[in-house]
Symmetry: C2
Subunit: 147 residues, 2 copies
Amino acid sequence: MSRKSFLPIIRELVRCYQAFESHSGRHIRTLGLTPAQFDIVATLGNTDGMSFKQLGEKTLITKGTLTGVVDRLAAKKLVSRVASPTDGRSQIARLTSKGEKLFASIFPSHLGHLGRAFGEFSGEDLQHTEAILRNLRGAFERCGETT
Amino acid sequence: MSRKSFLPIIRELVRCYQAFESHSGRHIRTLGLTPAQFDIVATLGNTDGMSFKQLGEKTLITKGTLTGVVDRLAAKKLVSRVASPTDGRSQIARLTSKGEKLFASIFPSHLGHLGRAFGEFSGEDLQHTEAILRNLRGAFERCGETT
DNA sequence: GACATATAGTCCTTATTAGAACTATATTGG
DNA sequence: CCAATATAGTTCTAATAAGGACTATATGTC
């Protein structure tokens, strides 16, 4: 298989993601958060809180970064940290009541913003696009495992 | 169309891109460059140089960031800046001979690394995947234009 | 030629990113 | 019970990211 024939896919993936980031990030900033902060608020919404490990897994933000982002959300009084009752090493991050209100307000707004891109997609389009992306992700992840 | 039904696509796009970044970035770092630096070297390879404006368009690195990345590549003697002969505001960034050698050495290596992910893809798979990504990118970009 | 407007790149600021080293705590095996 | 190993989160570092303000230059109009 020609090595070059996959380059258009790489190019389209990068541009697609950047277009998404631009579309999404532009709106998030008007909400007074950064994309990483929004990601954490969205992940914590409608939960009782979760450990940093779980947060890192669900958001794919590396743990070195996660500490700082949670720090800034805590400084904004949107998130609080509580020591884990069961593991002395661990802390639980949880939305404060202010954070819950923010989540309740901005999450639907952001879903609406994102949804605008999908107005022309049929149900079949959506399922097909998801399947293709999952397959592509699997291809990259399988390479990662062999390292 | 249900607002929620596109969320799996968003999730898969983000995870797919992160898997790609992890797969690609890991290799680039072993080459002694950062992903943004590699992006610029790859974009300048096999050209006579280009303006920052053109570089920004081809790499989608914002100009505030671009100055710093080119600075660091210049400090590594991989890229040089020359004043534009036709526009007093503009500068041309170009690979040095050291940069050309690096490009010649690492670009095929990186293509090989990326190509490993696509070993199971048929020609039709590749074309189909590209078409889906282009369509999805178009959806996000069309939203950007209406702002 | 003068003036208004636009543009190229730089500088600045705040936040994020990734990963290694570190400390405190947990787990496992003998 | 103790030693070895693993893990959770923090700290640190250098680089990137995004966008606005700025300076120097270009362009267009009168």
